[in-house]
C-alpha cells in the first residue's frame, strides 16, 4: 500500500506552490501582474491592452504553467531550431507570440487604427506634419540617454521608440531589434500613454505663456472626399520609397484608412476597426505580457527602461511645444503652441490634452480639431522614425 505521506509529498513537489517557494521572484512577478491588472481594471489605464498584458504576465509566471518558453525563442534567434520546433514544443503563448515575432499583430492593429483615423485635419493644415516631426525628438533623446547608460545600440533604439507614444510601433520595432526587452518597453509605452493627461500638462504650462495658450485658431479649411482618398495612396508611395523598412506598418495604416475613405468597402473598414482589431489585440496583449518572465523582467535594466520611457515622453512633448512656439512666432500668433504637444501620437489622448489646456486658458477656445492634425502626423512620424532605426540597427 502506498505511503500516503510520500504521495502527498510528491504532489506538493509537483505543485506550483512548491516551485514558487523555490524561486521567490515568481511571486514578485505575480504581484506585479496583479498590480497591472488593478491599473487596467480599476484605474482604467488603457484597459483594452493593459488587462491582456497583465494576464499574459500572470500566466507566464505561474510556476509549472509552461505557456511561454523564452529559451526556445533564444534558440530560434540563434538559428539552432526552426519555427516548427516551437510549434511542436512550445506552449499556447509561444504560438500567440509567433504573430509578434512576424510583425503581424502591430501591422494589423495599424490597419484598424488607419480605418478609425480621420486625416482630414492634417490635409486641411499640412503644416501640422512639422509638429508631428518635431515631437519625435523624444525618440532620439531617449536613444542618446540609453547609449549613455550603457545599452547596446539596438536596445537603445527600442527604448527610444517609447517616445513615439505609439504602442504598435514600439512593439513592432522592439520585436525586431531587442525582443528580450519587449515586455518592459511595451508596458512603459502603454502606461505612459495612459498617463499623458498627467505627464503633459505641467510641461505645457511651463513652456508656454498664458498669451500663447489663449490663441484661438482659425477654422480649418474643408477637405474633399477625393483628397481624403488620394492621401493614403500618396503617403504610402512617398514614405515607402524613402524608407522601405516602414512599409508593413505604414502600408497597413494607409490601407485601413483607404478602406474607410473610399466609401466602397464599408464592410472591410468595419472589420478592420472592430472584429479584426479586437482579435489581434487579445493575441498581442497576452503574448507581449507573456514575455515578462521573472528571470528576464526582474532586473535593474527594466527600471532604467521605465525611467528612460518617461524621459522620452517628456522630450517628445517638449519638442512639439518648442516647434509650436516657433510656428506661433512665424505666423504672427495664428498658431496656438499647445497643439504641438499633440504631435506625440497617442491618438486621440494627446489632442484632448491640448484641447483641455487651451480651454483652461481661454474657455471659448476649441483646439481639438487643430490638435488632431499634429496628432495623426505623429503616428506617421513615429513610424518613419521606427523605419529609420530598423534600417540602421536591424
Amino acid at each position: 500500500m502506498a505511503n500516503i505521506g510520500e504521495i502527498l509529498a510528491r504532489l506538493w513537489e509537483t505543485s506550483g506552490f512548491y516551485k514558487m517557494a523555490v524561486d521567490w521572484r515568481q511571486l514578485i512577478m505575480i504581484c506585479i501582474a496583479c498590480f497591472l491588472l488593478y491599473l487596467g481594471l480599476v484605474k482604467k489605464y488603457e484597459p483594452l491592452l493593459m488587462i491582456g498584458i497583465a494576464f499574459g504576465m500572470l500566466l507566464t509566471n505561474l510556476p509549472g504553467s509552461e505557456m511561454y518558453h523564452p529559451e526556445l525563442w533564444d534558440a530560434y534567434i540563434a538559428g539552432t531550431i526552426k519555427l516548427t520546433d516551437i510549434i511542436h514544443e512550445g506552449g499556447l503563448l509561444d504560438i500567440f507570440y509567433i504573430g509578434v515575432k512576424a510583425g503581424l499583430y502591430p501591422s494589423l492593429i495599424f490597419m484598424g487604427v488607419g480605418a478609425m483615423t480621420d486625416f482630414g485635419p492634417l490635409i486641411a493644415n499640412p503644416k501640422s506634419l512639422l509638429l508631428g516631426a518635431a515631437a519625435q525628438l523624444g525618440i532620439f533623446a531617449a536613444f542618446l540617454m540609453a547609449i549613455v547608460l550603457g545599452f547596446p545600440a539596438n536596445v537603445a533604439a527600442s527604448i527610444g521608440i517609447i517616445g513615439g507614444a505609439d504602442g504598435p510601433t514600439a512593439i513592432w520595432l522592439t520585436s525586431k531589434l531587442a525582443p528580450e526587452y519587449l515586455a518592459p518597453i511595451a508596458i512603459a509605452a502603454y502606461s505612459y500613454m495612459a498617463l499623458i493627461p498627467l505627464i503633459q500638462p505641467p510641461v505645457m504650462r511651463l513652456l508656454t505663456t498664458k498669451e500663447e495658450r489663449e490663441v484661438k485658431m482659425e477654422q480649418l479649411a474643408p477637405v474633399s472626399k477625393t483628397q481624403k482618398i488620394l492621401f493614403p495612396i500618396i503617403v504610402t508611395i512617398f514614405v515607402t520609397l524613402l524608407l522601405p523598412s516602414v512599409a508593413p506598418l505604414l502600408g497597413c495604416l494607409m490601407l485601413g484608412n483607404l478602406f474607410t475613405e473610399c466609401g466602397l468597402t464599408d464592410r472591410l473598414s468595419d472589420t478592420a476597426q472592430n472584429a479584426l482589431m479586437n482579435i489581434v489585440t487579445i493575441f498581442l496583449a497576452t503574448s507581449v505580457g507573456a514575455t515578462a518572465r521573472y528571470d528576464r523582467f526582474l532586473s535593474f535594466q527594466t527600471i532604467k527602461i521605465i525611467i528612460l520611457g518617461l524621459i522620452a515622453f517628456e522630450f517628445a512633448t517638449i519638442g512639439g511645444l518648442i516647434f509650436g512656439k516657433i510656428m506661433y512666432k512665424v505666423t504672427g500668433g495664428k498658431i496656438n503652441p499647445l497643439i504641438g504637444s499633440a504631435g506625440v501620437s497617442a491618438v486621440p489622448m494627446a489632442a484632448r490634452v491640448s484641447q483641455k489646456e487651451g480651454q483652461r486658458a481661454n474657455p471659448s477656445n476649441f483646439l481639438l480639431m487643430h490638435a488632431m492634425g499634429p496628432n495623426v502626423a505623429g503616428v506617421i512620424g513615429s513610424a518613419v522614425a521606427a523605419g529609420f532605426l530598423l534600417a540602421l540597427f536591424g
Binding site: 503644416k127 516631426a133 500618396i234
Partner: protein, 111 residues
C-alpha cells in the same frame, strides 16, 4: 557605440523624419492645389427638355413618432430637439423611432 556616433545617428534620424514629413507636406499642398475642395454643385442651369432627367420623386415626409410620448418636466421644444438629435446620431428616420418618455434628470444638489 560611442556617444559621438549616437549623437550623429540621432541628428540624422531627426533630419530623416523632418525630410519625410516635409516631403509629405509638399505632396499634400500640391494635392490640395490640383484638386481643390469644391462646394456642393450649385443647381445646374436650365437644360433642354429632352436632356432633363426625370423629376426626382419627392421624399415622403416622416409620419411622426409612433405611440404616445410622455414628457416629464420637459418642454415640448426641448423634447423635439432631443428626438431630432437622437435620430440624427442613429441615422434613423424619426418615424422609425419610438420614444416612450423624456424626463428631466435633476442634479442631486438642486433637489
Amino acid at each position: 557605440m560611442t556617444l559621438g556616433n549616437a549623437a550623429i545617428y540621432s541628428l540624422l534620424g531627426v533630419c530623416v523624419v523632418f525630410f519625410a514629413l516635409i516631403l509629405l507636406m509638399i505632396a499634400i499642398k500640391i494635392l490640395v492645389k490640383v484638386m481643390p475642395y469644391k462646394e456642393a454643385a450649385a443647381p445646374a442651369p436650365a437644360v433642354k427638355a429632352a436632356e432633363a432627367p426625370a423629376p426626382e420623386k419627392k421624399a415622403e415626409p416622416a409620419k411622426g413618432v409612433a405611440g404616445d410620448l410622455k414628457l416629464i418636466k420637459t418642454e415640448p421644444r426641448d423634447a423635439a430637439m432631443i428626438m431630432a438629435i437622437i435620430a440624427d446620431e442613429l441615422k434613423t428616420p424619426l418615424n422609425q423611432l419610438r420614444f416612450k418618455s423624456i424626463k428631466l434628470v435633476e442634479e442631486e444638489g438642486k433637489r
